[in-house]
Symmetry: C2
C-alpha cells in the first residue's frame, strides 16, 4: 500500500481520535474484551501458540548487531526463564543505523508518517493475543490486564499521541505570502515553514507495564519524524521486541528503512541505558522507571530533552462516607489490582484519629484498617479472583521490599495484614503475594513519605482530615504523586482537596466506588502525570509531550 492509501485507510480513526482528544469523552479504537477480537478464538489460540513457540529460541529480528544474548526474562507465572535470545547491538551501531534511516523519514510528509504509525497500531492490535502472552510472562500481569491494559488501552494512548502530534504539526502553516511596506517600497516574500524533527529518540521502558508508556513515546517521536530506539527492561523484553518487529515490518512494507525503530537489548549485569541517554546523537529521551533513575535522566539528558514518568506517593483521604462498604471494596480493588505494581496505585490512606463519619456512626482508624484488610482478603484469598485482579509479582525484589518495611517499622505502628501469596489456579508455582497493610501514625513520615513499590499500603492516622490533606498534598508536591483519591460527604472538603492537588499536580478522584478500578486512566480523557511534581515531567498527552519533538525551520525568498 502506498502511504497515501495508508493515510486514507486510517483517516476516519485519526479524525475521531482528534475529536475525542478535544472533547475528552469516552472512546476506544479497539474493543478491549478478548472475546471481541476480530480474529476470534482462532486468533487467541494462534497468539498463545506463537508465544509458546518463541520460548527458548532466537528472536527473529533483523538489524544491527550480531551476538544473540539471553536477557533476564523469567516468567513470574512459571518461574522459568523464557530462554529467548535477542540480537544485541552496541549503542554506536544502533545510532548509526537510526541515523542512516532518518533522512527519508524526516523528509516524508507528516500524513505519510501518520498513516504508517496508525497501520502499526492496527497490526499491534491484530497481534494482541501474542503480545498479551508476552506481557503476561514478563510483566506478570493477569491475562485480562495484559490484553486490555498492556494491549488495547496502551494502543489507545499511542493513538492519542499520534492524534495530538498530527494536530500539532497541522497547526504549522506550510507556507505564507508576506507583504509589507519598507519606506516607499512594498516587499513581498514567499515563506516556507518546514517541520524539522529533533533527532534520534531513546525510549526506556519499565519492567511491569512497558507498552503503556512506550507506545505514546514511540509514536509521538516517530510520527513527528524521529527515529526511535526502544530499550526494554532486561527482565521484560519480549513484548517490546514483538512490537518493534511489527514496527519494522510496516515501515519496510511502506518503503522506509526498518532501522527507524531499533531495539536495544541489555542485561541486568551489563546495563546500557546510561550510554544511550548520554550518546552524542540522542536528542529525545522518554523514560519510565524509578524516581531516582528518572531524576538522573532529567538532569543528565541535556542536550537531549527528557520526558519522564517515575513514581510517587499516591494518597487516599478518607474523611466521611454515608456507606463505608463500597469505599472499602473500591480501595481493596485498587490495592490488589496488579498487586499495586502500577504507578497509579494508591499507597497512603489517611484516616482521622477521631474516626470516619458514616451513616452508621463513626468508624475508628483501627476498625477501618481491619475492615480494609477484610475487603482485601475477599480478593487476595480467593484464588480465582486473586488471579484475575492481582496477577503475579514481576520481581522477587518487590516481595523483599515488604519484608524490609516491616523491619523498618521496628515496633512502630501495626501490621494489619501480612502479605500472603495465593495459589494461582493455572500456574501453581506463580510468584504471587498479597498486599501488606500497615497502620502508622502521621508522624512516621520516614515510613510512608516515599514510594514503597508494590503491594504495600499504609493506613495513616492523623489529627483530622485537614492535616491529612496538608500532609498528603505536600508529599505529592515534594516527593511526587500521580493520583489521589478522596472520600467525603462534605463537598467543601472535596473542593479544597481538588484545589490542593491541582497545585500539587496529582489527579484527584473523589467518592468513586463501583466497578471501575479507582486508578483506571482513560486514553483521550484522563491526563496521566502532570509534570508539576517529582513523579515525572511529562503528561499523556498534553501539548508539551509533543511540542519539543519537532521544531519549525523557515526559508524566505522574494515572491
Amino acid at each position: 500500500m502506498t502511504t497515501e492509501v495508508l493515510f486514507e485507510k486510517h483517516r476516519g480513526l485519526l479524525e475521531r481520535a482528534i475529536v475525542v482528544c478535544g472533547s475528552r469523552e469516552s472512546w476506544t479504537a479497539f474493543p478491549d474484551a478478548p472475546a471481541d477480537h476480530p480474529g476470534g478464538e482462532h486468533a487467541r489460540a494462534e497468539g498463545e501458540a506463537e508465544f509458546r513457540s518463541q520460548l527458548g529460541r532466537v528472536f527473529d529480528l533483523e538489524g544491527p548487531g550480531a551476538l544473540a544474548v539471553q536477557t533476564d526474562e523469567v516468567s513470574p507465572y512459571t518461574l522459568e526463564p523464557l530462554g529467548v535470545s535477542y540480537r544485541r547491538a552496541g549503542a554506536d551501531e544502533l545510532f548509526a543505523a537510526a541515523q542512516g534511516a532518518w533522512p527519508r523519514w524526516r523528509d516524508a510528509d507528516p500524513a505519510a508518517r501518520t498513516g504508517i504509525c496508525l497501520e502499526i497500531c492496527e497490526r499491534l492490535f491484530r497481534k494482541n493475543f501474542t503480545l498479551a502472552h508476552a506481557a503476561m510472562h514478563t510483566a506478570g500481569q493477569s491475562f485480562g490486564m495484559s490484553y486490555a491494559g498492556s494491549g488495547t488501552n496502551a494502543l489507545d494512548r499511542g493513538i492519542e499521541a499520534i492524534a495530538q502530534a498530527y494536530s500539532a504539526m497541522d497547526r504549522v502553516a506550510p507556507q505564507a505570502e508576506w507583504t509589507r511596506r519598507f519606506g516607499t517600497t512594498e516587499v513581498k516574500l514567499a515563506k516556507r515553514y518546514r517541520l524539522a524533527p529533533r533527532g534520534i529518540a531513546v525510549v526506556v521502558a519499565c519492567a511491569s507495564f512497558p507498552a503503556w508508556n512506550v507506545y505514546p513515546a514511540l509514536f509521538a517521536s516517530l510520527v513527528t519524524g524521529n527515529p526511535v530506539i526502544v530499550k526494554p527492561h532486561p527482565t521484560s523484553v519480549l513484548q517490546m521486541a514483538l512490537a518493534v518487529r511489527i514496527c519494522r515490518e510496516v515501515l519496510t512494507e511502506a518503503g522506509f528503512s526498518p532501522d527507524l525503530v531499533g531495539l536495544a537489548v541489555d542485561t541486568v549485569a551489563e546495563p546500557i541505558t546510561k550510554q544511550l541517554v548520554r550518546h552524542p546523537l540522542t536528542r529525545i529521551v522518554d523514560f519510565t522507571g524509578s524516581a531516582a533513575f528518572g531524576s538522573w535522566v532529567e538532569a543528565n539528558a541535556f542536550p537531549a530533552i527528557a520526558y519522564t514518568e517515575t513514581s510517587g506517593t499516591n494518597s487516599v483521604l478518607v474523611h466521611s462516607a454515608d456507606d463505608l462498604q463500597p469505599v472499602l471494596r473500591a480501595l481493596a480493588g485498587s490495592l490488589c489490582l496488579f498487586s499495586a505494581q502500577m504507578c497509579t496505585s494508591p499507597q497512603n490512606i489517611y484516616v482521622p484519629r477521631g474516626g470516619i463519619s458514616t451513616a452508621d456512626g463513626t468508624i475508628g482508624a483501627d476498625e477501618f484498617a481491619d475492615a480494609l484488610a477484610s475487603a482485601i482478603q475477599a480478593i487476595s484469598t480467593v484464588p480465582k479472583r486473586a488471579a484475575a485482579v492481582m496477577g503475579t509479582v514481576q520481581s522477587a525484589d518487590t516481595l523483599r521490599l515488604q519484608e524490609e518495611l516491616v523491619e523498618l517499622m521496628d515496633g512502630r505502628g501495626r501490621v494489619v495484614l501480612k502479605p500472603a501469596p495465593y495459589e494461582h489456579p493455572a500456574f501453581p508455582g506463580a510468584r504471587t503475594g498479597g498486599p501488606l497493610l500497615v497502620q502508622v501514625d502521621v508522624g512516621d513520615h520516614d515510613l510512608y513519605g516515599q514510594e514503597r513499590f508494590g503491594p504495600i499500603a499504609f493506613v495513616i492516622e492523623c489529627d483530622d482530615a485537614e492535616q491529612a490533606l496538608e500532609q498528603a498534598s505536600r508529599d505529592a508536591r515534594e516527593h511526587g504523586a500521580i493520583t489521589a483519591f478522596a472520600y467525603s460527604s462534605d463537598d467543601s472538603y472535596l473542593d479544597r482537596v481538588e484545589e490542593a492537588y491541582a497545585v500539587a499536580g496529582a489527579a484527584v478522584s473523589s467518592n468513586i466506588t463501583g466497578p471501575m478500578p479507582l486508578n483506571f486512566s482513560a486514553a483521550y480523557s484522563d491526563y496521566h502525570v502532570t509534570g508539576l511534581n517529582p513523579a515525572g515531567n511529562a503528561s499523556l498527552t498534553d501539548d508539551s509531550f509533543i511540542a519539543g519533538r519537532f521544531r519549525v525551520t523557515q526559508s524566505r525568498r522574494l515572491a
Copy 2:
C-alpha cells in the same frame, strides 16, 4: 475596568493576532513609525521629557527591597552614567513577594489574564517614546530602532506570545462527561481539567536588545498564570524598569498584586542571575545572552525549565548573482544595522575562491571583499546614515573584541576594512564604531568558527559553493546559528541550501535585496530561533515556547 471589560476591549486584537499566528501573514498591532503614534508630537516631547527627568533620580517603583542602588548604566550616546537608582531586593525577598501574589493570579480565568496582558501591551505602546529613549540610552540603538525594533516590533512578539498562549489554553477542555461500561454497569464520571501554571518565572535580559526577548517571555509566562521576575542586564535596566512599572500599574488597577511582575536589579560587580536561576522556587527561566551563559542555564536550570536564545555564527553564502550591487548593498546594510549587535546579524560571508558568477563576469573574492567594504563605507562614513542605521556600540568591550580579532589573525588573511568610528550628528562623543571586515581562508576556522560579537564580519574564501554550504551549515549545527543568507542564480543550489539549514536549524533568506533589512524578523510570521542548534533551545513563538509554562491537573467525581 473589570477584567471582563478589559478582555472585551482587546478581544478584536486578540482574535486578529490568533488568525495571523496561523496564517503568518504580515500584521502589526501598532504602527511602527513615530509619526503615527496616536499621541502625536505631544507624546514624543513628553516621552523625551519623562526620560530626561528620570536621569540622576531614584526610580519610583514599589516592591520588595529597600536600598537604592545605582547600576552600571552609561549612555552610549553621552558616555555619562544615567545616574538612576533602583530599589534592590534580595532573591528571597523577590521570590517571597511573587509567591505571595501568585494564588489569585493562578486561579484567575485565562481570559482575565489575557485581557490584562493585552492592556499592558497597549500601555507600553502609549509610553513608547519614553521607553524608546530609555532603550536608546542603554542599549545604544538609534532612535528609530529603539522606537520600532525595541518598541512596536517587540510588542508584536509579546502579543504573538499572548495569542499563542491563549490558543494553547483554549485547546484544553475545561470539563467533560465520560461514560463507559465496566462489566454490566455503566460508569459516568464528571471530569474537570484545570490549567495549572508552573510557577515563578525568571526572565534574564540581554544588554543590547532587552525588550524583544523579554516581552514574549514575560507575557507567555504571565498570561499562563505565572509570576515573573525580570532581571535586566545591569548596563541596560531603565527600559525594563519602566516596563515592569507599567505591568505593576495595570495589575494593581485590575485588582491583582503588583508583585506578579518583579524587578531584580544587580550590578556587574555583584551579579544575581545565577542565584535567581538556581533559586528553589524558580520553575521557568527565559534567558537571552551569551552562548556560554546560556549553556550554563540550560544545564543548571533543572528542575526549572529553561528557554534560551543565545548566539551563533550566522552565515552568508554568495554563489552567484545577476547583479552584485544590490547584494552588496543588502549585506552592507545588514552588517551595519545596529552595528551588528543583533543575534540575527550575519558574520561569515563565504565566497568561492574561483569567484562569483555575475552577468558582468566573474568577481573574485578580493574584489568582492573590497566592494563590500565600499558598500559598508557608503553607510558608515556618512554620519547621518550611520547614525540612523548603526546607532552606537552598547559596550566598550565590543570594540576591544575587534582589536582582539586582528591580533588573533597574526598575519593570516587580510584586514579589508578597519573599524572607523563616525561622528554622531546629535551626540558628538557617542561610542560609535564601524564594522571590521576581514578576509580569511576556509581553513582559518579558529577565527570565524564562533560568534565574534558586534561589528565583525569575515569574507571566507572557500573551494566552491558546496564546500561553503557544508562548512557553514556544519558550524550552524555544531556552534549555533539563527539566520543564514544565500545568493545564487541557481535554484537547485538554493534548494540544497534550504534543505541543509532546515536540518542545521537556521532560518534561510535567499536572494533578498532591497529596502527590508536582511535580518528583519517579523512577529506572527518569522519563527525566531529553531531550538535545533546551540543558538538557543526556544523558538518565538512555537508550541514548545508555551507548552511547558502551564500543565493540566484533573479531577473526577461520579456524575
